[in-house]
């Protein structure tokens, strides 16, 4: 079963397609990183899934049911653009309102549970308007988690957070999937952070899904390379190009692709009169993969 299954989804605004014949599959239990440049259609897709926008055509299924099914929708939580909280009400009151909306029986207990998950047990009585950005994002997640959510849709939840906040958000999201079996669809521009938690990726461009892959697929496709700095860069570059097939001069380093034998390279360079000043193993991550994919599509 898939948590989200979208087929041929389109949505246009004044004749311009924000989402164009999009297909998307999010497996149950996945943390699905939804990636794309600004205006690529990520938020529009998320709003369509949540029923905030009406699609022009196409189908959306959540857990094998139509997305308009009341039973399934009550177990969807979303944080899109803002938390939708009333600024003059306390964190607790805002959560209580959503708990009533969901028709929960043990409302106080449920609010305590979600506040505990987002590490905000001590801030329940603070007015929402007095909360910091990081706290507001966590309240948004708490609100989305109320009532045994099976699917969380989070639009840029780590934007604007400091390093500490990002780390906490990462831990919370991993907790949610591991402990509660929740599926998470998360869009973000901070690919380095996304890479640490995502199990699946969807890359969208101009409203079209250009690639869907799992973290394992990405791992398989990711190139390894060794970066070297020597005292005679030009000579070493020429020498290494004769020895290896893919050698590039990038960012002040000589990069040897598909080779991670640092000791062998050091030995080779030393033997041929190129003393090594710095050497490190690298791997192309999500960010580089994404940029490369985008530039290929551009071409």
């Amino acid at each position: 079963m898939n948590a989200i299954e979208i087929r041929g989804l389109s949505k246009s605004f004044r004749g311009l397609y924000a989402v164009d014949n999009l297909n998307m599959t999010v497996p149950v239990g996945a943390i699905y990183g939804f990636i794309g440049e600004n205006g690529s259609g990520k938020s529009t897709t998320e709003k369509l899934i949540c029923g905030h926008l009406v699609p022009d055509k196409g189908s959306i299924k959540l857990f094998d049911r139509p997305y308009t099914d009341a039973g399934v929708r009550v177990r969807v939580g979303a944080l899109i653009e803002n938390t939708g909280c009333f600024p003059n009400s306390s964190v607790w009151d805002n959560l209580m309102m959503q708990a009533i909306n969901l028709g929960l029986s043990d409302r106080a207990g449920e609010i305590d549970r979600v506040l505990n998950i987002v590490r905000m047990e001590d801030s329940a009585r603070i007015k929402f308007k007095s909360c910091s950005l990081g706290m507001k994002q966590r309240i948004g997640i708490a609100m989305a988690l109320l009532g045994d959510s099976a699917l969380l849709i989070l639009d840029e939840p780590i934007n604007g957070l400091d390093a500490e906040g990002m780390k906490m958000m990462r831990e919370i999201l991993v907790d949610i999937t591991q402990q509660y079996g929740c599926t998470v669809l998360i869009s973000s521009h901070i690919l380095g952070e996304l890479e640490k938690i995502a199990t699946h990726y969807g890359i969208i461009r101009q409203g079209k899904m250009i690639q869907e892959l799992s973290a394992k697929d990405l791992e398989g496709r990711a190139k390894v390379f060794t970066s070297v700095k020597t005292q005679h860069m030009q000579g070493a570059f020429g020498f290494l190009r004769q020895k290896f097939s893919d050698v590039r001069a990038e960012d002040g380093y000589i990069r040897i692709y598909d080779v991670d034998d640092t000791e062998g390279i050091v030995g080779l360079l030393m033997q041929n009169g190129f003393p090594v000043r710095e050497i490190k193993k690298n791997k192309i991550g999500l960010e580089e993969y994404y940029i490369e994919l985008m530039s290929k599509k551009e071409a």
Binding site: V54, A70, G84, I100, N101, G103, G181
Partner: protein, 267 residues
């Protein structure tokens, strides 16, 4: 992985939506401010017009004298008996009465509904609610109760104002029953205006001003009819007629509002 999703019945959904809306309406200051205004307004109107009753003002340019005419009876602030009702009359007593509140309904409904969309709270509601019917019914019921409280506030204010101003409480041919029936008829008409104003708010979404302007224009079209349909000597026929009209408008325009919410973007 096996996932279980319980069926969510209409009754359960509506009951939780009603709880949210009543909670929101009664925990925000706005309703109390509106009811407070409705309570104070008749006191001020009755006391001030009684103080100025009979005073003469002369236009310095034309020399025309105008005699200020106040209320003769407290119940004039609620309505006039059918034989004296003139919908086209533009005097102080015909304009400054409880019927003004039909314009206030536009403000209460407009602000209450638009607040959902402006704050982003509507997103939280509609993410977990696929059926818009719950929202339409719940908002209509809640706004009706809020507006009914405004009318009751005005009624209490009228009684207090009449007592402070020393005006007679003579019900004349209407009798106490007539006054009660008149108030009930007016509450029936509240349902008509709430249904109308909610449809305007559903179309305007977060644009409070647009919702209020549309509602005010629609209210103006019906305003002249209200004194005729709800005179001070109203009977059970007036009450039933007003509630039936209110029900028809709420159901009819509720269906329209439902279609608007279903077919248009919510954000």
């Amino acid at each position: 992985m096996e996932m279980r999703f319980e069926k969510s019945s209409f009754g359960k959904r509506l009951s939780s939506m009603l709880k949210v809306d009543f909670c929101r309406m009664f925990t925000t200051r706005f309703l109390y401010i509106m009811v407070g205004i409705c309570l104070v307004m008749p006191i001020l109107i009755l006391v001030m017009t009684t103080m100025m009753d009979g005073s003469v003002t002369v236009d310095p340019q034309t020399g025309v004298e105008t005699v200020m005419e106040g209320f003769d009876n407290t119940w004039q602030a609620i309505g006039t008996v059918s034989s004296e009702t003139n919908p086209m009359a533009m005097g102080l007593t015909t304009m400054c009465n409880i019927n003004m509140l039909y314009f206030f309904i536009a403000v209460l409904v407009g602000v209450f509904v638009a607040d959902d969309f402006r704050s982003g709270y509507a997103k939280n509601i509609f993410t977990v609610r696929a059926k818009k019917t719950d929202y339409v019914i719940s908002k209509t019921v809640t706004c009706f109760v809020g507006c009914a409280l405004m009318f009751l506030g005005f009624f209490v204010g009228t009684v207090l104002g009449g007592a402070i101003a020393g005006l007679p409480f003579d019900t004349g041919s209407a009798g106490i029953a007539g006054v009660v029936m008149c108030m009930l008829s007016k509450l029936g008409m509240v349902a008509v205006f709430v249904g109308m104003d909610f449809a305007a708010s559903a179309a305007a979404k977060g644009r409070t001003w647009m919702s209020i302007v549309i509602s005010m224009v629609a209210a103006m079209l019906l305003y002249m009819m209200v004194p005729m349909i709800t005179p001070l000597d109203s009977g059970i026929v007036n009450v039933i007629g007003c509630f039936v009209a209110g029900g028809i408008v709420c159901v009819g325009l509720g269906a329209v509002s439902n279609a608007i919410l279903k077919k248009t973007s919510l954000v």
